[in-house]
C-alpha cells in the first residue's frame, strides 16, 4: 500500500492540477529541443519535484521511470570516504549533495564531470544531453555553488542541470543568472480543494467542506502535508463528519504545547521544563529554525495584539543569531526567555517598553 501523496501524484504535465500556464511553458521548452538549465524554487509541498519529474517524462518519455539506486563513494582530498545515494535512469541522475555537508563540492565536481564527459549512449534517446537533478540546491555551500557554476558552462553540450530549492536567496548570483528561474508557487486554497476533491473522488467518497476547511488551515499551502493530513483523518474517522481532530505531526503539537506553557507561567523553572522539550525536538531532527518559527507562531496566536510585533521582532533577532552561532539551544532558549520577560512585563504594567 502506498500513501495518497504518492499514489495520486501526477505523472505528466497534463495531469497537473494547477499552474497550467507553467505546465504549458515547460511543455514547449521540452519540445523545443533547446532546454536550458532550470532552477525550480518555491515553498515546500508546492509540487516542484512533481513538475521536474513530469518535465523529464516530457523530455525523454516513459524511459525515465526505469530507475536504479547507486551508492557512490567519493574520496575527499583528505582521504575521507563519502557515501552518497543517487537515483538515476538512463537519462537523468538525481542527488542531494548537501547530505555530505561541507564536502558537497567534491560530490558536485566528481559527479558532474563524470556525467558531462560521457556522451549519451542510448541512440534512441530523444535528447542528446543528460539531466542532473540537484536537490536542496540552497543548502549547498558557497564552494560547491562556485564549482557548479564553472561546470555549468563548460559542459553545456552533454548535460543540463535542474536545481531544486526553496528560495533563490541562498543561491549565488552567477548560478541564478545561468538558470531559467521557475517559481512554483504554493497552490491557493481553491486549487488545493480541487486536488483534495480529486483524490476523494478517486477513493470513492464524499469530502465534506468542514473537513476540507480544517485540512487547509493546518496545511497552509503545503499540498503534501494536506494530503498526508487528509489521509490520516480519513483513517481516524472514515466518514469525515463532525468534529474531527486534525491529525498533525507530533512535533507541531509539541510546539504549541510549549507555547502554552510559556504563556502560562514565566519563571526560571518553567524555562528549564521547556528546555527539556526543546532538546527533545532537536534530538528528533526537527530543524531548529522550524522549532523557533513554529513556537513563535503559536505564541503570536495567543497573545495580545500589542505584543505581536515585538514577539516577531525577537523571533527574527534570535533566528539570525542562531544561524550565526553553533549551539542552537542557547538561542531558542534565549528567545523563550525574552518572550517570557516581555510577556511578564506586559501583564504587570500593561504596555511594553520600546524594544528597538
Amino acid at each position: 500500500m502506498s500513501l495518497w501523496v504518492d499514489k495520486y501524484r501526477p505523472r505528466s504535465l497534463d495531469e497537473l492540477h494547477y499552474h497550467p500556464e507553467l505546465s504549458s511553458r515547460l511543455r514547449s521548452l521540452a519540445a523545443s529541443g533547446d532546454f536550458p538549465h532550470i532552477l525550480f524554487y518555491g515553498p515546500s509541498g508546492a509540487g516542484k519535484k512533481t513538475r521536474i519529474m513530469a518535465t523529464l517524462r516530457e523530455l525523454y518519455g516513459p524511459g525515465v521511470e526505469k530507475l536504479r539506486i547507486d551508492q557512490r563513494v567519493f574520496v575527499t582530498p583528505s582521504n575521507r570516504k563519502l557515501d552518497v545515494n543517487v537515483v538515476q535512469s538512463n537519462y537523468h541522475i538525481e542527488l542531494t549533495p548537501s547530505d555530505v555537508g561541507m564536502y558537497d563540492r567534491v560530490v558536485i565536481q566528481d559527479i558532474l564531470k563524470e556525467i558531462a564527459q560521457t556522451q549519451q549512449v542510448d541512440l534512441n534517446a530523444k535528447q542528446r544531453f543528460k539531466v542532473v537533478i540537484i536537490n536542496e540546491a540552497d543548502a549547498l555551500t558557497r564552494d560547491a555553488q562556485a564549482a557548479l557554476r564553472r561546470t555549468m558552462e563548460k559542459y553545456m553540450n552533454n548535460m543540463r542541470l535542474i536545481l531544486c530549492a526553496n528560495s533563490t536567496s541562498k543561491i549565488i548570483a552567477p548560478i541564478r543568472s545561468r538558470c531559467l528561474l521557475v517559481r512554483v508557487a504554493a497552490p491557493t486554497d481553491d486549487e488545493m480543494t480541487k486536488v483534495l476533491q480529486h483524490v476523494a473522488k478517486k477513493e470513492r467518497f464524499q469530502l465534506p467542506s468542514t473537513a476540507t476547511k480544517s485540512i487547509l488551515s493546518t496545511s497552509q499551502g503545503n499540498l503534501r502535508k494536506a494530503l498526508l493530513v487528509f489521509e490520516a483523518m480519513k483513517m481516524q474517522k472514515p466518514d469525515l463528519t463532525g468534529d474531527i481532530e486534525v491529525a498533525k505531526p507530533d512535533w507541531e503539537t509539541y510546539c504549541s504545547k510549549i507555547a502554552d506553557s510559556i504563556i502560562q507561567e514565566q519563571s526560571a523553572q518553567r524555562l528549564l521544563d521547556v528546555r527539556a522539550k526543546i532538546y527533545e525536538l532537536l534530538s528528533h531532527c526537527i530543524p531548529p529554525t522550524v522549532v523557533l518559527k513554529t513556537i513563535s507562531d503559536r505564541i503570536v496566536d495567543k497573545v495580545d495584539d500589542a505584543l505581536k510585533p515585538q514577539i516577531i521582532h525577537w523571533a527574527a533577532y534570535y533566528e539570525l543569531r542562531m544561524r550565526m552561532g553553533s549551539k542552537k539551544i542557547f538561542h531558542i532558549e534565549a528567545f523563550i526567555a525574552k518572550v517570557m520577560t516581555v510577556y511578564k512585563q506586559f501583564n504587570m504594567i500593561g504596555y511594553t517598553e520600546d524594544y528597538e
Binding site: M1, S2, L3, D6, K7, R9, S44, G45, P62, E65, K66, L67, R68, I69, N79, N85, V87, E94, T96, D99, N135, K202, R224, K225, L228, E231, A232, M235, A247, P249, D250, W251, T253, K257, Q266, S267, A268, L271, L272, D273, A276, K277, Y279, L282, S283, H284, C285, I286, P287, V290, G325, S326, K327, I329, F330, E333, A334, A337, T341, K344
Partner: protein, 779 residues
C-alpha cells in the same frame, strides 16, 4: 657508552682505528641530548638504576652525564664534521645495520648484549635487590627516574589495574594467569597466548603506565624490547638513504616478534638471556594523524597479531592521551567522537575489534595516591627529615598536579632544588609549619586566620609553589562553576566563611566610579570572583564551559529577566563560534567568548544568589547531540528505504507498460525526499497513518524518530548530577549543597532516572509498528 651501540659501531666501522675513535667521540655527542630527552620525557626509570652511574669499563669518559653536553658541544661539532667526511669515504653500512641506536646509556647498563641488536634494546637485569637509592648528590638526575618504584607495592596506580596488567603479561607469556599457582598440565598454552598479542594501556600522562609495565616485567623476569621514535641522527648527513620511521618500525616488529635465533646459534655463552621471555614495548607511536602512516601502522599491527607462533612475543602499547584536564581547545564535537586519539585511532578497527587485543585504561591518580608516592620519593631523596619540605607542601603539589605523578615529582624536585639556597633562612619556620600542617592547612587556600608568622610562611611557600607549579593549578569543574553560580560579592550576608585574605584584598581595591543615572541598573557590588586569575583556571574549554554554565544557571536566578539577560550573553559568546570551526576563529575570540560568558553571567545573576540547594547537572546537550546524530542516521536509513521502495515501484510501473491502474496500485514515486521534509512532515504523518491502518509504511529504524508523548513537566530528566564524589577537593559548601535535599518540590530526584517511563513509551511504540519484511532485502 652503551655496549650495544658500541658493538654495532664496531661492525660498521670495521678495522680503521681512526674512524673508531671518531665514532666514539661522535656517539658521545649524540648520546648527551638523547640522554636528556629520555630523562625529561618519560617517567619510566629503569628499575635497576645505578645510583651514581660510574663510567663502565668500555664507556667513553664524557658520557657520564648530560651536564657535560654544553662543554662537549664544541669539540663534538668538529668531530661530527670529521665523522661526516669519514662517512663519505666509507661505504654506507649494510642496510640492516643502524649505526647509531638512540640509547640512553643508563638504560642498557651492565648487560652484555652482543651480536647484531641494533635497536634500542633495554634489558632490565633481574637483580632488583641492589641498593636502589642514591643520595641525591647528583642533582642533574630527574627524581622521576632516580626514585622510581622498585616494588609492586610502591606503584602508584590502583591495585586492580596492576593486577590486570600482570595477569595479562603472565598469560601472554606463559599461557596461564599469574593467579594460578601452578601451570595447568597438559594444556596447550598457545591457546591463550594466541589471543594475548597486544595490550593497550591508555590514560593521561604521568599515571604510571610505563612504569607499571617495566616493573612488572622486571619482577616476572621478562626482557623488554622497546621501540621509541629515534632522534633522526642523519638529518644533517648527506648521501645516505634514510629509512622512513615507519619502515623501521615495521622491520623492528617483524624482527622482534620472534626470539633471536641467530644469536643463540652463534653465541652459546648467552643462552641464559635467550631463555628469557620477551615483550615488545611501544611507547612512542608514529605520527598517526598522517593517514598513510596510520594505515601502514595498523597493517603492521595486524600482521603482528595474525602471525603467531609459540615463539613469538606479545606487545604492549603505551599511549598517553590528552586527558581530561587538557586545556586544548578541542571542540566538543571532536571530543564526542573521541577526539583524543582513542584506541581505534591507534590500533585500527581490525586489531581493536579482533580477539588479540586488550585495553586497560589508567585513570588520573587521586591526590592521596600522589601524596603517598611523593612522600616516598622524598624519603628516599632527602634522608634528613628536617630538610624535607612540609607535609602541606607535598599535599599542595599533589593537588595541583591534576593526577600527573611525573609532573608532581618534577615540581617537588624543582622546589627542593630551589630551596637549597634559601634553606638556611627558612628551615626553622618550615619545621613549625610542618607541625601545624595537619590541622590548619587548607589546601591552596593558605592558612585561615592563622598567626602572622605562619601566614608569612605559607605565603612564602605559595610564592615558591606558584613559580614551580604555575602551569596549572586548575580548579576542578565543580569549583569553577560554583564560583560563577554563587556570584559572591562584597557585602553579601553570610560572609563569615570567606577567606579573610581575599576579602581584604578586594576591600583594598579602589572603589568603582559611580555610574551615571541612566546606567544605574548596571551597577553591582564588587565581585569576589577575580576574573583575571579565574579565567585561566577554568578546567574545560570555553565552549564546554558555556554549556555547563547554560545547563544549570537558571536555577540560581530569581526572575526570568535575569535568565534572559544571562542567556543573551551566552548567545553572544556562542556567535563568536568557539567550537565547530576552531581553525577559523582566533584564539582571541575564544578567550573573549569565555570572558563574556563568565562576566555576563556574573552580571545577570542576582546578588546575593538565592540558596536553595540547587544542583549542578551535566549538560543535556551532549546527550541530545548524540541522540540527534543517531536519529539523523535513522533518518538516512528511512530515506534510503523510501527511495528504494519508490524505485522498485517505478520500475514495476515502467515494466507494466505505464498503465494507470498499475500506477495507482504502486504509488509510483521514484525520487529522493528532502530530509527536512522527511523529518518534519513525512515521517510523523506516516507514523500516524501506519498506526491507524496497520499497514507498514516505514522501516523499523524509524521508530526512534517518534517523539515521546508530551507532558507538561520535564519527562526525560536524564540529567546526571555532577557530584563531588570523584573530585575530593570541591568546595565543601558545594558538597553540602549537592548532597542536600532537593529544594524544589516539583523536580523529580535527578538520581531517579526516568528509565522506566521511557521504556514504557518504547514498548507502546513497538506495538504500533509492524516490522516491514522488506527491510531484510534492503540491507
Amino acid at each position: 657508552m652503551a655496549p650495544s651501540s658500541k658493538s654495532s659501531k664496531k661492525s660498521s666501522s670495521s678495522s680503521s682505528k681512526n674512524s673508531s675513535s671518531t665514532s666514539n667521540a661522535k656517539s658521545t655527542f649524540s648520546s648527551a641530548p638523547a640522554r636528556k630527552m629520555s630523562s625529561m620525557s618519560s617517567f619510566q626509570p629503569t628499575l635497576k638504576f645505578k645510583p651514581t652511574p660510574k663510567p663502565s669499563s668500555n664507556s667513553s669518559p664524557s658520557s657520564s652525564h648530560s651536564s657535560s653536553s654544553s662543554s662537549s658541544s664544541k669539540p663534538s661539532t668538529l668531530t661530527r664534521r670529521k665523522d661526516e667526511e669519514d662517512r663519505k669515504l666509507m661505504p654506507p653500512p649494510p642496510s640492516g645495520i643502524k649505526p647509531k641506536p638512540p640509547i640512553s646509556p643508563h638504560k642498557a647498563t651492565n648487560n652484555d648484549i652482543k651480536g647484531k641488536k641494533k635497536e634500542v634494546i633495554v634489558i632490565d637485569d633481574d637483580g632488583g635487590d641492589e641498593s636502589h637509592y642514591a643520595p641525591p648528590d647528583d642533582r642533574a638526575q630527574m627524581w622521576t627516574e632516580l626514585y622510581a618504584p622498585i616494588s609492586e607495592a610502591e606503584l602508584a596506580p590502583g591495585k586492580a589495574r596492576i593486577q590486570k596488567v600482570k595477569n595479562w603479561l603472565h598469560e601472554s607469556l606463559y599461557g596461564y594467569s599469574s593467579e594460578v599457582i601452578a601451570p595447568p598440565r597438559s594444556m596447550n598454552i598457545d591457546k591463550i597466548r594466541k589471543y594475548k598479542r597486544i595490550l593497550f594501556l591508555s590514560g593521561p600522562a604521568g599515571t604510571g603506565k610505563t612504569t607499571t609495565v617495566r616493573l612488572l616485567c622486571q619482577t616476572l623476569g621478562v626482557e623488554i624490547m622497546e621501540w621509541g621514535e629515534s632522534v633522526e641522527e642523519w638529518s644533517l648527513g648527506g648521501g645516505i638513504d634514510r629509512e622512513s620511521s615507519m619502515s623501521k618500525f615495521t622491520s623492528f616488529i617483524s624482527r622482534h616478534a620472534y626470539p633471536s635465533l641467530s644469536m643463540s646459534s652463534q653465541n652459546t655463552s648467552s643462552h641464559s638471556t635467550n631463555n628469557k621471555p620477551r615483550i615488545i614495548l611501544l611507547t612512542a607511536l608514529p605520527n598517526l594523524s598522517h593517514i598513510p602512516t596510520r594505515e601502514s601502522f595498523h597493517s603492521s599491527l595486524l600482521t603482528f597479531c595474525q602471525t603467531f607462533t609459540s615463539l613469538s612475543c606479545p606487545m604492549v602499547i603505551v599511549h598517553s592521551d590528552a586527558g581530561s584536564g587538557g586545556r586544548a581547545e578541542e571542540s566538543w564535537m571532536e571530543r564526542d567522537r573521541g577526539g583524543r586519539e582513542g584506541s581505534l585511532e591507534v590500533l585500527g578497527r581490525d586489531v581493536r575489534d579482533g580477539p588479540w587485543c586488550q585495553e586497560i585504561d589508567f585513570l588520573p591518580l587521586a591526590p592521596t595516591f600522589l601524596n603517598k608516592a611523593l612522600l616516598r620519593v622524598l624519603q628516599n631523596a632527602i634522608p634528613r627529615a628536617v630538610d624535607r619540605p612540609s607535609q602541606a607542601t607535598v599535599q599542595l603539589i599533589a593537588l595541583s598536579s591534576n593526577g600527573d605523578l611525573r609532573s608532581a615529582i618534577n615540581s617537588l624536585q624543582l622546589l627542593c632544588g630551589g630551596k637549597k639556597e634559601i634553606k638556611g633562612k627558612k628551615r626553622k619556620s618550615k619545621d613549625t609549619d610542618d607541625e601545624n600542617a595537619g590541622e590548619s592547612k587548607k589546601r591552596g587556600k593558605g592558612s585561615r586566620g592563622g598567626k602572622g608568622a605562619k601566614l608569612e610562611v605559607s605565603r612564602d611557600l605559595r610564592a615558591v609553589l606558584d613559580a614551580v607549579t604555575r602551569k596549572e593549578q586548575s580548579l576542578n569543574l565543580f569549583h569553577a562553576l560554583g564560583k560563577v553560580f554563587y556570584n559572591k560579592r562584597l557585602g553579601d550576608p553570610n560572609m563569615d566563611d570567606e577567606d579573610e585574605e581575599l576579602l581584604d584584598r578586594i576591600r583594598k581595591l579602589p572603589p568603582d566610579d559611580p555610574l551615571p543615572a541612566h546606567l544605574q541598573e548596571f551597577s553591582r557590588r564588587k565581585s569576589l570572583v577575580q576574573i583575571e586569575p579565574f579565567i585561566p583556571t577554568v578546567p574545560v574549554d570555553a565552549s564546554s564551559f558555556a554549556l555547563w554554565l547554560h545547563q544549570s544557571f537558571p536555577n540560581y536566578c530569581k526572575e526570568v529577566e535575569e535568565v534572559s539577560a544571562g542567556l543573551d550573553e551566552l548567545c553572544t559568546a556562542d556567535i563568536m563560534r568557539t567550537d565547530d570551526d576552531i581553525w577559523q576563529s582566533s584564539t582571541q575570540a575564544i578567550s573573549y567568548a569565555l570572558h563574556l560568558s563568565v562576566r555576563g553571567l556574573l552580571m545577570s545573576l542576582p546578588s546575593p544568589v538565592p540558596r536553595k540547594s540547587q544542583k549542578v547537572t551535566k549538560p543535556q546537550f551532549f546527550q541530545s547531540y548524540r541522540l540527534e546524530r543517531d536519529n539523523s542516521s535513522a533518518l538516512d536509513h528511512v530515506a534510503g528505504y523510501l527511495t528504494k521502495k519508490g524505485v522498485v515501484n517505478s520500475n514495476a510501473f515502467a515494466d507494466g507498460g505505464g498503465l494507470t491502474q498499475v500506477s495507482e496500485e504502486l504509488g509510483v514515486w521514484g525520487g529522493m525526499i528532502n530530509k527536512r521534509v522527511l523529518a518534519g512532515e513525512m515521517v510523523p504523518m506516516m507514523v500516524k497513518i501506519q498506526g491507524l491502518s496497520s499497514n507498514s509504511l516505514l522501516p523499523y529504524s524509524a521508530q526512534t524518530l517518534c517523539l515521546p508523548p508530551y507532558s507538561p513537566y520535564s519527562t526525560s530528566r536524564n540529567n546526571v548530577e555532577l557530584t563531588a564524589k570523584d573530585e575530593p577537593d570541591a568546595d565543601e559548601e558545594y558538597e553540602a549543597n549537592a548532597a542536600g535535599d532537593d529544594g524544589l518540590g516539583t523536580m523529580p530526584d535527578p538520581q531517579n532516572w526516568d528509565d522506566d517511563s521511557t521504556q514504557k513509551d518504547e514498548e507502546e511504540e513497538e506495538d504500533n509498528y509492524l516490522i516491514d519484511d522488506d527491510i531484510n532485502d534492503w540491507d
